[in-house]
């Protein structure tokens, strides 16, 4: 009995808890009960309730959730980009390290660019190393691609002693001063022309190198190369010891920003090229979401009506369990957090169908037990026990498929598409949760409500 009461409380607490998580973070309450001139000010409610984000310290870490639904690129609009790394110049044993550091680097660049929560993954297929970048809500995708795709290897070059006046860019020799010697970079403006420039500040080692280079090249040009291409080659007027320099190369403001972000994030250890790109405009996403959610609600309503019509009071209890299921799932999406994609929504909707299945299996069993003349209460308990075998085996098969679709270990022989993963995740979570609601919640509800009515009747 104690355990049963515990279950009743567990269901109530879980439901209320998920309701709290599910509600939008800001609710505006506004009621006005005053009529005409009679001023009943205490009846006026005009208040905004804001739910604080979750933030719990756990040891060194902090569990932080803002409890908003994360939308994938197909819902929020954005870009899915796949880059392939050119590993020709890197020995095989260093390749994994190179792609990992390229990933960190791109993460920095994208963060500096101001994209919130980019998803960046590496994948290895055969001998190919790839980076998968998903940027949600980015409007200027081409700029983002430029920003990510450029290696951004900066190096300073000087002319050799033998070079004549007729020297070309091909005659410049590396000085050993590169982007690695930078402390930071920022966008500056030419005080005379107002044109955007990229300001450089070297670290101590870089300052020393730069001072040496400028000292020995007074009156001669020093060229700045970016990714093996010359950007500018100004003449040195006097030795520079302050450790600061500017690159002026007819930049537009966007280009200057881009370059300074790339320099701050550091050069990519390998050149990468774009091999797949999917841009989705935000409008398409918004329309699809609204329609799909609407469709989901109508479908849910049909299921609820069907269950109530076919199974009567038991069906209503199953509907109650279904509502708890919906609340719990949404709460989990916000807590984990799950990035919701359109296929993900489809997975969720499909899992509602499967959630009802556990109940249908149990109810059909109950009917059989009733028919065989067992007392109602015993029949109910028996049905739960007997239906369990088939519920378990059937759902495990679905979970196996979800596992393969989700590919949690990033096996290279399976797909890692975000869309498919979203679907697998929501379906898998749905199936797992439906086992809980279909059995524990329904049983608790039946014990709490169905039994009492029977005794009364």
């Amino acid at each position: 009995m104690k355990r049963r009461r515990f279950l009743v409380w567990l269901v109530i607490i879980l439901t209320l808890g998920s309701l709290y998580v599910d509600l939008p973070s800001k609710i505006h309450l506004k009621f006005d009960f005053s009529f005409g001139k009679s001023q009943l000010s205490w009846l006026k409610i005009d208040k905004e309730i804001t739910r604080p984000p979750l933030s719990w310290p756990i040891g060194k870490y902090r569990f932080y959730r803002d409890l908003e639904i994360k939308k994938g690129i197909d819902l929020a609009g954005g870009a899915h980009l796949v880059f392939q790394a050119d590993m020709a110049n890197i020995v095989p044993e260093n390749r994994q390290a190179a792609i990992d550091s390229a990933k960190d680097n791109i993460e920095k660049r994208v963060n500096l660019f101001g994209v919130t929560e980019p998803v960046i993954q590496t994948s290895k297929v055969g001998d190919d190393y790839r980076l998968i970048v998903e940027l949600a809500g980015v409007t200027d995708i081409n700029q983002a691609i430029d920003l990510i795709g450029q290696t951004a290897q900066l190096d300073f070059r000087e002319l050799s002693q033998e070079a004549t006046q007729a020297a070309t860019f091909a005659d410049f020799q590396p000085t050993g001063l590169t982007g690695k010697d930078l402390k930071k970079s920022e966008v500056k403006f030419d005080p005379n022309s107002g044109e955007p420039q990229v300001g450089l500040e070297f670290n101590s080692e870089g300052t020393q190198k730069f001072a040496d280079i400028t000292s020995r090249n007074v009156g001669k040009p020093v060229a700045i190369f970016l990714d093996e291409l010359p950007v500018t080659a100004p003449n040195v007027q006097e030795p520079i010891t302050s450790g600061e320099a500017v690159i002026s190369g007819n930049f537009t403001l966007d280009e200057a920003k881009e370059l300074s972000i790339q320099l701050n994030a550091g050069a990519l250890p390998v050149p990468i090229s774009l091999i797949e790109q999917r841009n989705i405009g935000a409008t398409l996403g918004v329309e699809s979401v609204q329609k799909s959610i609407q469709a989901g609600l109508i479908g849910l309503l049909m299921v609820i009506v069907f269950m109530a019509a076919y199974y009567g009071r038991l069906g209503l209890l199953a509907d109650g369990a279904l509502v708890v299921y919906g609340l719990l799932t949404l709460a989990l999406y916000k807590l984990i957090p799950v990035t919701l994609t359109l296929p993900g929504i489809a997975g969720f909707i499909l899992s509602i169908g499967m959630a009802v299945d556990a109940n249908i299996l149990i109810f059909e069993r109950m009917k059989e037990e009733f028919r065989s003349g067992k007392p109602r209460l015993i029949a109910i308990e028996l049905a739960f026990g007997r239906a369990w075998d088939s519920i378990r085996d059937a759902n495990i098969c679905t979970l196996i498929t979800c596992f393969i679709l989700f590919n949690p270990f990033n096996w290279s022989f399976l797909n890692v598409s975000g869309m498919v993963r979203g679907f697998a995740l929501t379906l898998g979570l749905g199936v797992a949760l439906s086992l809980f609601t279909g059995i524990v919640v329904t049983r608790t509800l039946i014990r709490a409500f169905y039994r009492k009515e029977k005794i009364k009747g």
Binding site: I141, N142, Q277, E364, F423
Partner: protein, 294 residues
């Protein structure tokens, strides 16, 4: 009790009736793979006015662009399929269209997939299906302590796969519907749904075997089918309600995905009761006959 299994050849005949046209279409027309598999460019624009797709096609052909197809994808939305384009080229296309139709087309979708990626996806898809089938076969055989349950469940699963592939081959031929990553996802989902349904029937057979060890296998299967039929129909109906709502009212991007799931659900429901169960009886009969001969 209804002797369901008496009509097993009728059930197989109905399945064949559905599968064979699809198979024929698969062999003659094949499937229409999307750029996910072949590589290429997909561009979707929204104009402020209605334009004939033919005009877009002509304009781009004139400028020496290779265009696979131009489709109307919604009110004033146009979907262009082209070989893999660089992003500068795509920008040129957009500018050309803007100039020609004196309009500011809005780029809704722009997808480019390199050709190698397409081939990879094909291989990965096949691996995923084999893997899923293998695991499920193993699990079912283990739970039911007999390989025949596993094999028959897998056969019913392939029935559903064939129905879906055939249906999409026909849909592709007549309506230009493409097969993409989402379709693969739908197939895999239906595989698990189909087994889900089959397992419920098999579970009843397993249970009755323990309760009535002397009864003939065929009568046990009949009993199991009778007992599970209303559950199977009710369950599928709830899923079908959901899918029909999504198909009629849901977003454009998942329309064919949902259609695939719907076809699969109907096929999966049929195959668990009317393929997976009679197949077991057939298997049992054949092995009995062999025993007698020895």
């Amino acid at each position: 009790m209804i002797n369901w299994m008496k009509f097993k050849w009728l059930y197989f005949f109905i399945s064949a009736l559905v599968i064979i046209p699809g198979l024929v279409s698969l062999f003659i027309f094949g499937l229409r793979p999307s750029i996910d598999f072949t590589g290429g460019t997909l561009l979707e624009y929204r104009f402020n006015q209605e334009i004939s797709p033919q005009e877009i096609n002509n304009l781009l052909q004139e400028k020496d662009y290779e265009v696979y197809s131009v489709q109307v994808s919604g009110e004033k939305n146009y979907l262009l399929r082209m070989p893999a384009l660089e992003k500068e080229k795509a920008l040129e296309v957009s500018n050309l269209l803007a100039e020609k139709f004196n309009d500011e087309p809005q780029e809704i979708r722009f997808e480019v997939v390199g050709p190698t990626l397409g081939r990879e996806l094909m291989i990965k898809t096949i691996v995923a299906i084999i893997l899923a089938a293998g695991f499920i076969l193993g699990y079912v055989a283990w739970r039911f302590k007999n390989a025949k349950f596993g094999f028959c469940a897998i056969l019913a699963m392939f029935h559903d796969t064939l129905v879906m592939l055939g249906a999409f081959s026909l849909l592709g031929y007549f309506f230009g519907v493409e097969v993409d990553t989402l379709f693969v996802t739908a197939v895999l989902t239906i595989l698990s749904f189909s087994v889900h349904d089959t397992v419920v029937v098999y579970d009843r057979i397993r249970e009755s075997q323990k309760l009535f060890p002397k009864a003939s296998f065929e009568s046990l299967v009949n009993k199991a089918v009778t007992e599970t039929l209303s559950r199977s129909l009710n369950n599928s109906l709830t899923i079908i309600f959901m899918l029909i709502a999504l198909l009629l009212l849901g977003g454009v991007t998942i329309k064919w995905f949902v259609a695939a799931l719907l076809i699969g659900t109907v096929s999966g429901t049929y195959s668990s009761t009317f393929n997976a169960a009679p197949l077991l009886v057939l298997w049992e009969n054949i092995s009995q006959r062999r025993k007698k001969q020895q």
